[in-house]
């Protein structure tokens, strides 16, 4: 079983919490990539969305604007010496194979697909979102998903949770701008022995 990172919620009271889904998902991906071990950089460990956001603000000057894969890639490389690998319009079967092959992934989804399901952790939100995907379960093909919104507040669901493959696929396909049958994701290194 791959290392399972600590859950990081985006609604942590920090100034950019509303737009920190990418930072939170990238923080969890960094924890996975390091398998929980402090890389010994000059920055605090374990990773937090607030720290990732701060680094993006310093380097890119984008304030609290939603972050991109590339900005998060740059931030976690500096903070935690982690190489995230953003890839765009990846066929679903390729995404699935990469996760089976020992990699975690930050996945771009549309929360409109999550709305009204048991996985919905913010019923007032239906926009573009980032979640962290840690692994696939062979018995039923489900994926272990860490939704940065799923912090249990107001009785909503808590992360991580097993999302059926068809559900994750639908949510990733629905992210605006993806080609038909394709997804956007940013992958960790292969951490499996």
């Amino acid at each position: 079983m791959p290392y399972r990172p600590r859950f990081r919620k985006q609604l942590d009271g920090s100034p950019c919490q509303g737009s920190n889904c990418g930072c939170a998902a990238s923080a969890m991906a960094s924890d996975r990539a390091r398998e929980g071990r402090d890389p010994g950089t000059a920055y605090a460990w374990p990773p937090t969305p607030k720290e990732v956001r701060r680094r993006i603000q310093v380097k890119f000057g984008t304030g609290c604007r939603p972050s991109t894969f590339a900005q998060n890639e740059s931030a976690v490389a500096t903070l935690y010496a982690v190489d995230l690998l953003p890839r765009y319009n990846v066929p679903w079967a390729t995404f699935r194979s990469l996760v089976i092959g020992g990699r975690g992934a930050v996945a771009a989804i549309s929360y409109a697909v999550v709305h009204g399901t048991r996985f919905d952790a913010c019923p007032s939100f239906r926009g573009g979102h980032s979640v962290y995907v840690n692994e696939r379960r062979a018995s039923d093909g489900a994926f272990l998903v860490y939704d940065p919104l799923a912090d249990g507040r107001k009785g909503y669901t808590t992360a991580p949770d097993w999302w059926p493959a068809s559900f994750l696929q639908k949510a990733m396909y629905a992210y605006p701008g993806t080609n038909a049958g394709c997804v956007h994701a940013s992958f960790t290194k292969d951490t499996e022995p």
């Binding site: 609604l11 319009n89 020992g102 939100f125 701008g177």
Partner: protein, 54 residues
């Protein structure tokens, strides 16, 4: 650079096969270029009441 195989292995393939495929894909040039129209994620506002149909 190595071009990735056209098709990934089936889910029933060995972990090693998936691993080799993944390495080929990520070493290759495909999928690296973000599309021009990739939008940002959206800002969450959790302050309002949940929708009735949730």
């Amino acid at each position: 650079m190595t071009k990735p195989p056209v098709k990934p292995p089936p889910t029933s393939a060995s972990d090693e096969q998936h691993r080799r495929f993944a390495a080929d894909v990520l070493d290759g040039d495909d999928y690296r270029q973000p599309p021009d129209d990739v939008p940002d994620t959206d800002v969450v506002d959790d302050s309002g009441e949940p929708d009735d149909d949730a």
